[in-house]
Structures are given as structure tokens and as C-alpha cells.
């Protein structure tokens, strides 16, 4: 069963094309991340799926139904957290969840929804007294209160400190494996890698890659990265000629990042190449390939560029 089906989705605003022909299906029970930099069209796509915005063209089906004909039925069965909702400041956590519960025919008990996000201790606190992380957890509790088959989380951890982010990841992680479908957007690659079994990378309104973390990293030709700085700098051709299994070289300032298949073969070859060129090795380190490397390979830009 497909939970979400999107065909050639386009959304144009007066002076820009936010979504430029996107097509994908999401299987029931999976957790999928829409990953991309700010302004990539993630939120617009998700808000169209949530029935908040209308598409300019294209076909969207949510839980097998179309928004134009079945809005009421879809709303009963989905849950969502927008990017930072400001709930009523002078309502308590419990009163807020209770309010939202009242709109749905079926769902969790109010206490159960609060327990799922571990806000029991704050259930009598006013919303205005909550920290940023607690407010986001409240937003997730409100998203869960209808016990939805399909859950949308739009940048659930943006703006949170690392600790709050991790604790929210635990909450989201616990939701998986209950047969629920989750679609979340993020511009944190760690978040996508941690939570999602499938990642759709979007940039400038288009899908640039789609697959599991392993698949995406394999697609750029290697799972390992060697970073070196030498004096003088070695050229790409020089390196490619001497290092076996070298898929790509990308440079950031003095540092060259070499994507390779197998470290135990590549590292000695790199050292040999440096010596052969009569250069001095200033720095050498290795790491696993990340989604950022994937994004960089596909778009020539870094996901992190817009991160403050």
C-alpha cells in the first residue's frame, strides 16, 4: 500500500517556482525524510500534502484519497507539526492537547499523547513557560493525538539545542515500527540519517536523489573520505592516476576530500603519491561519507552553507 503518491507536483508563486515537478511514492509504514537546504521547496511540498496549500498542477493522493473530494476523511487520519506553531500562551499543555483531541472522532487519550512525548511533568504548565524543546514536543503530542496513520513533521528540531534535538529524536524514533508512516523534512543530515529509512534529497524544487543512506552514499562512488592538505597542493589528475578506487576529489580551501572505496588500499597510495611528488603532508584524516558529501556531489554546494 502507498501512503502518499505524488505525480509531477508543481507549485508556483507570483515570482518563484517553489516546487518544480516532483514525483514520488511513499510506502505505508516507512519513515521518509525530505532533506534539502532552506528554500528547497520542502515545506511547500509538505503543506500541499497536508491540504494547507493547493498545488498549481500535478496529482497528489494521501492514504489513497484526493484532497479535492475527501478533505474531511484525510484530516481525520493524518497528524502534523508545522514549523514552529505558537500555541495559546495561557493554556496549559494538557488543555492544549485536550482542545485538539476534541476535533477528532478517534484518537489517543490526552494522557497517552502527553506521555508519548514525555511531557507528563509539564502537563499543568502554561505554554508560555515551556522551553523551545518542550514546545516542539507539545507540537508532536498534538500531531499524535488523533493516533494518525500518517504523520508529517516539518523541521521538528530546527532551532533546538543539541540535547533537546536528541531527546526529540528519541520520541520520533519510538513512533516508528508501529506501522505508522512518517514524513519529515529537515535540513540536518544527521537527523535524516538517524531517523529515516529512506531519504529524498530536494534542491530548488526538484528531487536530486532518492534512496537509503547507504544507497545514496554508494551512488557517489565510495563510503570513505580521506582529507589531506599538502604543500604544495597536488592536482586532481596526479591523485587520480596514483590512488586506486578514487571516485571524486572535492576541495574546500587547502583541504582536498578524496572519496574512495577502501581505506586500506587508498591511504598508502595517497602517502606514496605525496612522497613521489616531493610534497610535504600537512594533514591527513579519514571519515565516513555523509549525506552532505552526497549533496555536494550532486549540486556542487554544501547543505551546511546556510547553517548559521
Amino acid at each position: 500500500m502507498t501512503a502518499i503518491s505524488v505525480q509531477n507536483l508543481v507549485k508556483k508563486f507570483e515570482d518563484l517556482v517553489a516546487v518544480n515537478g516532483i514525483t514520488f511514492d511513499i510506502a505505508e509504514g516507512s519513515c521518509v525524510g525530505l532533506l534539502g537546504p532552506n528554500g528547497a521547496g520542502k515545506t511547500t511540498t509538505v503543506e500541499i500534502l497536508e491540504g494547507i496549500q493547493a498545488p498549481t498542477s500535478g496529482e497528489v493522493r494521501v492514504l489513497g484519497r484526493a484532497w479535492a473530494t475527501d478533505a474531511g476523511a484525510i484530516r481525520e487520519r493524518i497528524g502534523l507539526a508545522l514549523q514552529q506553531t505558537q500555541f495559546y500562551e495561557r493554556l496549559t499543555v494538557r488543555e492544549t492537547v485536550e482542545l485538539f483531541r476534541s476535533f477528532y472522532a478517534r484518537g489517543l487519550s490526552v494522557d497517552e499523547a502527553i506521555a508519548r512525548v514525555q511531557l507528563q511533568e509539564k502537563s499543568k504548565a502554561y505554554v508560555m513557560k515551556l522551553s523551545g524543546g518542550q514546545k516542539q514536543r507539545l507540537a508532536v503530542a498534538v500531531a499524535l493525538v488523533a493516533d494518525p496513520e500518517l504523520l508529517f513533521l516539518d523541521e521538528p528540531t530546527t532551532g533546538l539545542d543539541p540535547q533537546s534535538r536528541r531527546s526529540l529524536w528519541d520520541v520520533i524514533d519510538a513512533l516508528r515500527g508501529k506501522g505508522r508512516t512518517v514524513l519529515l523534512t529537515t535540513h540536518y543530515m544527521e537527523e535524516a540519517a538517524q531517523l529515516c529509512d529512506r531519504i529524498i534529497i530536494v534542491d530548488r524544487g526538484r528531487i536530486v536523489a532518492d534512496g537509503s543512506v547507504q544507497e545514496l552514499i554508494r551512488s557517489i562512488g565510495g563510503e570513505q573520505v580521506i582529507e589531506i592538505a599538502t604543500s604544495p597542493t597536488l592536482g586532481d589528475e596526479q591523485l587520480k592516476a596514483q590512488v586506486p578506487g578514487l571516485a571524486r576529489v572535492t576541495r574546500r580551501g587547502e583541504v582536498a576530500a578524496l572519496t574512495v572505496q577502501e581505506l586500506h588500499v587508498a591511504v598508502p597510495a595517497v602517502v606514496a603519491a605525496v612522497q613521489a611528488a616531493g610534497a610535504t603532508l600537512m594533514q591527513l584524516s579519514t571519515r565516513q561519507s555523509t549525506l552532505d558529501d552526497v549533496f555536494l556531489a550532486l549540486t556542487g554546494r554544501s547543505l551546511r552553507e546556510d547553517e548559521a
Binding site: E50, I52, L82, T85, Q86, F87, R90, L99, S102, F103
Partner: protein, 341 residues
């Protein structure tokens, strides 16, 4: 867990838990009416001040004037007397002599009274016999005082203000914080949402009206000449009129600053011309038809009609028509153009 009940609870809680709402709705009008009630209380008229210039028989003349309780005469040099007249400390200067002269400022209403009183006192002292004897009975009637006029005025203004800000500002605030968008993504019925605003507004209006009537009676002895239920129903309709207008203003505003500006634009002119603090009859005749078409004028005329003149609800047909038109039309437009995000 009925959704309408939950929405109503949310409105009630957010009002009840917001101290500034309670202040502006209840304490502020009370303080205003106490301040204005004290400043404009009806006093016994003071004796009219007359300056008698030094000269022949000045003391005797002053004594004759002082025999009239409505006059208070002082003897001073001519220059001082004129100075007093200029400053408004004396209503009239009398230069005594065989041919006494009165100096009066023709633009001062007190001057005319002073001239008549002085003339009368001097004539009587000179032996005039009155041809007609007048009997005077003094009457001070509740209902004709400034505070009687002011209380319904402040109530009408309060209904307008709390309608505009209580409904309009709240909606825009919810839009700015994306709460409207979030609510729209649930199966919530939009009619329930709007109804919750209407009902909570009416509930607060009921408390507001009863509070006004009670404190006006206890503190100032303001009487309710007409029927209290008619007064309450009229105030409820007035308050819904302003709520309808406020929803229109709030239907597209993207931030609270814009909404605030628009609401000031709506309320300020009406506060001046519709007759909150003074009667709108002071404005020129040709402006009157336009003023009568304003919603606040209709609300104030009706409240004053019922409270002060004992008018029946149905005698206020034209005002009711104006009010309902101002409530229904903007509300209908608002429903068409309302933005949830």
C-alpha cells in the same frame, strides 16, 4: 469532549488569564467615569464676581451689591479691576459715581448675568418697586447630569474597543503564530471556530453591561429608566456588530501592527464624532446624517435611549437597522476573504 465547548473554553481561559483584558474591560471604564464624574459634577453656581473701582461711594455701592446672594463685590483700584476682568477673575467692573459705568467682556456668558444682577441690585437699592412677583422652585433631576450622559457613552466605547481588540487582535495573533493554520489542518469545523468567538464575546459583554449598570447605580445613582433586558440585548447586538467589523479587519492582516493600525483607524474617528464624551449634535447640521449612519452612533443612541429616556427596544428601529447592517455585511465579506495562513 465537544469541540465547540473546547474552543469556547480556550477563548474564555485566554481572556480570563490575561490580566490586561480584565483591566481594559472593567477597571479602565470605572476609573474613567470616576475621574470624569468628579471633574464634571454639577455644582451650586458660585456668586458672580464684580470688581468695584475705587471712587465716590465705592464702599456703599459694594455693600448694596453684596446684599444680593448672587453677587460678590470687591473694591479695588481701577487698574486692578480691569486686570481682573481681563483675567476672568471678575465678570464685570463697576465704576461708581453719579453716572455709574459698567465694563463687560461681551464674549463672556458670566458678563451678561453680572450685568443683569448688578442692574437689578442698584435699581432695588434706589427704591424700584417690582411690578411682577415671581415664585421660583428649584429642581435638579437625575438623568440630566453629565455622568448620566457619560455612563452609556463609556459602555458603548468599551463594547467597541473590546470587540475590536478582543476579536480582531486575537485572530491576527493566532495567524502570526501559525495557530490558525494548525487548526485549519484538523477536522475542526470553521463555523465552530467563529461561533466560539461570537459566544465568548457575548458572554463577556453580558458581564460588562451588568458591571456598568451596577457601578453606575451604586457610585453615581444613575437610574435605568427603560427595561434592563432590552438594554442588555441591545448591548449584545452592538457588541456583535463590532465583532463582525473586527473579523473583517482581521481577515487578511498578516501581523498585529497592521491590525492595530486598522483598528485605530476604525475606532478613533467614531470615538470623536459619535458622541462618547459629548453630544454629536455639536457637529454641523450637514454632517449629522453621516454621523447617524456610524455603528457607534447607533449603539450610543440606543443605549442612551433605553437607559435615560426609557425608550422601548422597538422604538429604536433605525438604530437597530444601522447596527445589524454594520455587523452582517462586514462579516459576510470577511467569510469570503478570510485567510487562514
Amino acid at each position: 469532549m465537544n469541540p465547540l465547548w473546547q474552543l469556547l473554553l480556550m477563548r474564555a481561559r485566554s481572556l480570563w488569564r490575561e490580566p490586561s483584558v480584565l483591566f481594559w474591560t472593567f477597571i479602565f471604564p470605572l476609573l474613567t467615569s470616576v475621574a470624569l464624574g468628579v471633574a464634571f459634577r454639577n455644582q451650586q453656581l458660585q456668586a458672580v464676581e464684580v470688581a468695584v473701582a475705587q471712587g465716590a461711594a465705592d464702599q456703599a455701592t459694594a455693600a448694596r451689591l453684596n446684599a444680593d446672594p448672587g453677587l460678590h463685590a470687591t473694591v479695588v483700584p481701577l487698574a486692578d479691576a480691569l486686570e481682573r476682568l481681563r483675567r476672568g477673575k471678575a465678570a464685570l467692573v463697576l465704576v461708581p459715581g453719579d453716572d455709574p459705568e459698567l465694563k463687560v467682556d461681551p464674549t463672556q456668558p458670566e458678563g451678561r448675568t453680572a450685568r443683569l444682577l448688578v442692574h437689578n441690585a442698584l435699581e432695588r437699592a434706589a427704591g424700584r418697586v417690582d411690578a411682577v412677583t415671581l415664585r421660583t422652585t428649584e429642581i435638579t433631576e437625575p438623568g440630566a447630569r453629565y455622568i448620566d450622559f457619560l455612563i452609556p457613552g463609556l459602555l458603548g466605547m468599551g463594547l467597541m474597543m473590546s470587540g475590536a481588540w478582543g476579536v480582531g487582535w486575537s485572530i491576527v495573533d493566532m495567524r502570526t503564530g501559525k495557530l490558525l493554520k494548525r487548526l485549519m489542518a484538523t477536522p475542526m469545523k470553521r463555523s465552530h471556530f467563529l461561533l466560539s468567538f461570537m459566544l465568548s464575546r457575548s458572554l463577556l459583554t453580558l458581564l460588562e453591561v451588568l458591571f456598568f449598570v451596577l457601578y453606575a447605580k451604586v457610585l453615581f445613582g444613575v437610574r435605568m429608566s427603560g427595561s434592563l433586558p432590552a438594554f442588555v440585548v441591545y448591548a449584545l447586538l452592538g457588541s456583535l456588530t463590532f465583532a463582525g467589523l473586527a473579523i473583517l479587519i482581521a481577515s487578511r492582516a498578516q501581523n498585529t501592527q497592521t491590525a492595530n493600525g486598522l483598528m485605530n483607524l476604525m475606532t478613533m474617528p467614531m470615538m470623536v464624532v459619535s458622541g462618547v464624551f459629548f453630544s454629536s449634535s455639536h457637529f454641523p447640521e450637514w454632517t449629522q446624517p453621516a454621523i447617524r449612519l456610524l455603528p457607534l452612533t447607533a449603539v450610543l443612541d440606543g443605549l442612551r435611549g433605553i437607559m435615560l429616556d426609557g425608550a422601548s427596544f422597538f422604538a429604536l428601529g433605525p438604530q437597530l437597522l444601522v447596527m445589524v447592517a454594520w455587523g452582517v455585511l462586514p462579516f459576510a465579506v470577511a467569510l469570503k476573504i478570510f485567510r487562514w495562513s
